[in-house]
Amino acid sequence: MNSIDVRHLTKTFGSFSAVKDLSFLVPQGEIFAFLGPNGAGKSTTIKILTTLLSPTSGEVFIEGKSSVTQQNEVRKSFGIVFQDPSLDDELTAYENMELHGVLYRVPPVIRMGRIEEMLRFVELWDRRDELVKHFSGGMKRRLEIARGLLHHPKILFLDEPTLGLDPQTRSHMWQYIVALNKQEGMTIFFTTHYMEEASKIAHTIAIVDHGTIIAQGSAHDLQVKTGTASLEEAFLALTGDAIRDEDATSTDQMRMNMRIRGRK
């Protein structure tokens, strides 16, 4: 069965189409990377797949369930690390984890063990009782990753999970995720702007631009197709080198604002 089945998905905001007639399949147990320039529609697609946004048209099935009409079933099957912050700053690291475990109905005994395991994994166990608002950006990111992995979902969505993390943490984190993928057959759907990550980890890569997939295959396939020597070059060959500055600045601006507001 396919973990993710997207058919002719379109999402418009006013007159602007963020996602246009997008179709793709992700088989169970695959690691699938969704790459594209800023504003390509990656996060919008993830929001639709995870029931946060409703599609304008088209169909989405997660583990065979419709993400429009069977939202509750769909929500049981995935975990997600969002691109933007999603922690409760007024709670401690431990409390954020615990609330997540309860929301996902992880039985208490497993929950306690797993929270400790995950917090140790991201090296936040010693700081578990500190309020999240006092954490650095990287620490918050690590906590979000730990939280997303807490309930061992069938599918894991990661929207630029490694944004702002140092190389050690990045490689450490990917190792763990690849191991989960192997041991539990967890399907991984991720986006990133670090091409070497995608090239090393993903079985299949889809390059999106302006809301549609313009190329799909393994890193090797994409390089062969474009006659280039690395995924980065293949990516540039496929998407052109025009900077998507308008989108980039507006999203970056928004993130900046969030940070500033968050800090107060």
Partner: protein, 248 residues
Amino acid sequence: MSILYQLWLRQLKRYVRSRARIIGSLGQPILFLVALGFGFGPVFQKAGGGDYLSFLAPGVIGMAILFSAVFSGIEIIWDRQFGFLKEMLVAPVSRIQIMFGRTLGGATVATIQGLIVFGLTFLFGFHVISFAFLPLAILFMFLIALLFTALGTAIASMLDDMQGFQLIINFLVMPLFFLSGALFPLQGLPAVINDIATIDPLSYGIDGVRGALTGAFHFGLGTDVGVLLVVTAVFIGIGSYLFSKVQI
């Protein structure tokens, strides 16, 4: 069940940890007790109304609950801006349950806030006729809290950011407060004011608290409880519906 409890607990933790909010929100009730309680007391007494402070105190308790409750509901907008709302919305928990847990938590916080103000009113010379009816008064406080937290949640579900906040305070919360029976008796009012006070659910809440603490009901115990329960149920229904439509 444990989900409801955790969502409730979250609201309580957030409240206990924000001392500035607890203290800040006591300023307004104290100001009302001082300025109106002491300022209007003599006039009220001369006009044959009796002890104004004892009349006013339940109104000010109601005010504290009203503001705190609407604020708790509106907090969803913060959750949206700081991103935590996403975490709740993708969880495999029905939106109604989330709405319910939050509302219970917010209502508990607002009730505590009301009880703190209740404690303060004694410093200003509030006379309670009998503490036997204290549980009844607390029940009314909780009903006011529940009703307006649900209203706040319903409104917040329709807003994307805090820009509408002033609008809500000035055009909804303030009128709800000033045109209820919080500050003046509901007898012998001009027809328009009387009609407005009669459709203002806060009037019934304050009447309930006042009745339980001072023995003087205007609408009557049964009417107060009935109206509050029905309106609360309606707001929770509307709030749940609107919340279930929230997108990010």
